[in-house]
C-alpha cells in the first residue's frame, strides 16, 4: 500500500512535468492562433515573440495557457491528448481499419515475433557452438560484438535493398532486422549460462563417464535457463525496435513505424506520440509475458 502511493506519486510527478513542459513548447503557436482570432497578445509583434522564450511568453499571456494543452497539432501533445488518440485508434476503431493502431501494432508484432524467433534460435545455436568449440569462440564472438556496433538505422536500408534485389520482401526483411538485433543478447546470455556450471559439477559428470551430449542436456542447458530468460527479455524489446526501424526506410504503409513516419510527414504529433506509446505498451506486454513464462518454467524446474 505504501509503495503503491510512492509509485503513484512518481507517476503524477512525471505527468505534471509533462503538462508543464507543454506550456513553453506550444505557447508560440497558441498565441499566433489567438492573435488571428482577435485576442490581445503581449507583445503584439510576431517577430519579437519568436525571440522570446516560451516561459516568459506564458507569464505575459496567462490566458493562453489552457489552450497549449488543446491544440490540434501541438509541438508537444499533452498526456490526455495522447491518451484520447490511443483510445480512439484502438478501442473505438475496427481492428481491420487502416487507422486502427491495433492493426498497425499487429503488423509490427508479427515481424517482431518472427524476428525474435529467428534471433533466439540463431543465438542459442551460436552459443552452443561457441561453448563447445574454441575455434568458434575465437571466430564468431568478435563478429557478433562488431555486428552490434553498427547503427541499425544505417544498416536497415541496406538489408532491405539487398533482400529486395533477391526477391524477398514483406515481413521477412523486417524480421531479419529484428533477428539481427535480438540474437546478440541471446548469444551473450547463453554463453554465460552454458558455462555457468562449476568445475566440480563438470568433474562429477566426468566420474560418470558422461558424454559431451549428456553433459549438455543434463547439466549445461538446465543451468543456463535463468540466463536465457534474462536474455530473451532484452532480445524481444530489441526485436520490436528492429521491426519498427525496418518499417522506416521502406516507406511502409502499415506498422507502428509507418505510423511514426506518416505522423512526422504531416506534422501529426499526436499520432506520433500515440504510436510511440503503442510501441512502448506492446514492448512492456511482451517483456511481461516473458516474465510470466520465466516464473512458470523456473518454478516447474524447482529453481524459483
Amino acid at each position: 500500500m505504501k509503495s503503491l502511493l510512492a509509485v503513484l506519486t512518481v507517476l503524477a510527478a512525471i505527468v505534471g512535468l509533462w503538462y508543464a513542459a507543454c506550456v513553453p513548447m506550444n505557447i508560440h503557436g497558441v498565441l499566433v492562433t489567438a492573435e488571428r482570432g482577435g485576442a490581445v497578445v503581449e507583445p503584439s509583434d510576431g517577430a519579437a515573440r519568436r525571440e522570446m522564450s516560451g516561459v516568459s511568453l506564458a507569464l505575459k499571456n496567462g490566458f493562453a495557457v489552457p489552450e497549449t494543452w488543446a491544440q490540434e497539432r501541438p509541438r508537444l501533445p499533452a498526456p490526455h491528448q495522447v491518451a484520447i488518440e490511443l483510445w480512439d485508434t484502438t478501442v473505438m476503431k475496427k481492428i481491420t481499419s487502416k487507422r486502427s493502431l491495433v492493426y498497425h501494432g499487429w503488423v509490427t508484432l508479427s515481424a517482431t515475433l518472427l524476428g525474435f524467433g529467428i534471433g533466439t534460435v540463431l543465438g542459442v545455436l551460436l552459443a552452443v557452438g561457441i561453448v563447445h568449440s574454441r575455434v568458434m569462440d575465437m571466430s564468431v564472438m568478435p563478429w557478433a560484438i562488431v555486428s552490434q556496433t553498427i547503427p541499425i538505422i544505417a544498416l536497415a536500408p541496406m538489408i532491405i535493398v539487398v533482400l529486395y534485389s533477391v526477391g524477398v520482401q514483406g515481413i521477412i526483411p523486417k524480421a531479419v532486422i529484428s533477428a539481427y538485433l535480438s540474437f546478440f543478447p541471446v548469444v551473450v546470455g547463453m554463453v554465460k549460462g552454458l558455462r555457468s556450471p562449476d568445475a566440480m559439477q563438470l568433474d562429477l559428470l566426468r566420474t560418470y563417464n558422461a558424454s559431451k551430449g549428456e553433459t549438455f542436456w543434463k547439466l549445461r542447458l538446465p543451468a543456463s535457463m535463468p540466463y536465457l530468460f534474462a536474455s530473451l527479455k532484452i532480445g524481444i524489446a530489441a526485436s520490436l525496435v528492429g521491426a519498427i526501424v525496418g518499417e522506416l526506410p521502406t516507406g511502409a504503409v502499415s506498422g507502428l513505424g509507418a505510423r511514426l513516419l506518416a505522423g512526422s510527414y504531416y506534422g501529426q504529433t499526436v499520432q506520433i506520440w500515440s504510436a510511440l506509446f503503442g510501441a512502448a505498451i506492446l514492448a512492456a506486454c511482451l517483456v511481461g509475458l516473458l516474465g510470466v513464462i520465466e516464473r512458470l518454467v523456473l518454478k516447474r524446474m524447482g529453481m524459483a
Partner: protein, 267 residues
C-alpha cells in the same frame, strides 16, 4: 603411466608405485605429489590426512582419473585409472553436495543411473534402496534447497552409491558441516561401510575423524606432497562413538599428530 600390463595382488584395489605429479604453473613447477607408494586393499577404509597443499585431494583425484600423474604407476582394480573411470569403478563424493537445484533428490540420485543406462524400473528400485541406506527415505520428492546441509551431503553420498561401484572416494565430504552433524554422519558412514563392504578413500583434515573411521590412516605433508606415515589402525571394525575415549584411540591419534608435526618440522 604403465600400469596396464601389471597383474595386481588379488585383494589390492588401488596400487601406487613411485607416483609423481608436477603441475606447471606460472610460478614454476609445483610438486603436488612426490614418490607416493601405497596399497589399498579391498574393504579398506583409508583416510588421507595432512595440512592443505599436502596432495591428499590430488592423490584422490589421480585415483579418479581427474588428474593425470606425471610419473610412476597407478592402478585401480588392475586397470589404469582412466580405464577404471570408464568402467565406472568408483563413486566420488565432493566437498560440496553439488546437487542440481532443478532436480528433486530422487532425480539427482537418478542422474548417474540415467547416464549409465539403467532401466526406469531399476532406477526407481535403486533410488529407493540408497535413500534408505543414507536414512533419507521419504525425501525423494524434495528439492535440494528444502534440505539441510547434512541431508544434502547424505543425498550426494546416496548418488555416489546408487550405481554400486566397489570404491567410494570422498573428498572432505563433511568438511563444511558442523561437528554435531559430522559425528552423526561419521557414525552413519561406518554403518554403511559395514553393510556394503565397499573400499573407501576418505580425505580429511580432522584427526579424530580420520582415526574414528579408518582401518588405515595415510599421513601426508606438503612441499612436495608426500606420504610421511601409514598407520594400520588397531581398532576393531565395530566402533561405537565412545571408542574415541579408549586408550588405543588416543594412541593412534597421538601417532597421527606426531606424523603431521614431523612433516612440518622439515620445511
Amino acid at each position: 603411466m604403465n600400469g596396464t600390463g601389471q597383474q595386481p595382488e588379488l585383494s589390492s584395489v588401488v596400487s601406487a608405485k613411485g607416483l609423481d605429479l608436477t603441475f606447471q604453473t606460472n610460478d614454476g613447477p609445483v610438486h603436488a605429489l612426490k614418490d607416493v607408494n601405497l596399497e589399498i586393499n579391498k574393504g579398506d577404509f583409508v583416510s588421507f590426512i595432512g595440512p592443505s597443499g599436502c596432495g591428499k585431494t590430488t592423490f584422490l583425484r589421480c585415483i579418479a582419473a581427474l588428474e593425470t600423474p606425471t610419473g610412476g604407476s597407478l592402478t585401480v582394480n588392475g586397470m589404469t585409472p582412466d580405464e577404471a573411470r570408464r568402467k565406472r569403478a568408483y563413486g566420488y563424493v565432493f566437498q560440496a553436495a553439488g546437487l542440481y537445484p532443478w532436480r528433486t533428490i530422487a532425480k539427482n540420485i537418478k542422474l548417474p543411473l540415467e547416464i549409465m543406462g539403467f532401466s526406469r524400473q531399476e532406477q526407481e528400485e535403486r533410488v529407493r534402496k540408497v535413500l534408505e541406506l543414507v536414512d533419507l527415505a521419504g525425501f525423494g520428492g524434495k528439492f535440494p534447497w528444502q534440505l539441510s546441509g547434512g541431508m544434502q551431503q547424505r543425498a550426494s553420498i546416496a548418488r555416489a552409491l546408487a550405481f554400486d561401484a566397489d570404491i567410494l572416494l570422498m573428498d572432505e565430504p563433511f568438511g563444511a558441516l558442523d561437528e554435531i552433524v559430522r559425528d552423526h554422519l561419521n557414525e552413519q558412514l561406518l554403518a554403511l561401510w559395514a553393510r556394503t563392504g565397499k573400499t573407501i578413500g576418505f580425505v580429511t583434515h580432522s584427526i579424530p575423524e580420520a582415526v574414528y573411521l579408518s582401518t588405515k590412516i595415510v599421513v601426508m605433508s606438503p612441499r612436495p606432497g608426500r606420504i610421511t606415515d601409514v598407520i594400520e589402525s588397531p581398532l576393531p571394525r565395530e566402533r561405537p562413538l565412545d571408542i574415541r575415549d579408549s586408550k588405543e584411540f588416543i594412541e593412534v591419534a597421538h601417532r597421527v599428530r606426531e606424523g603431521l608435526r614431523a612433516g612440518h618440522a622439515d620445511d
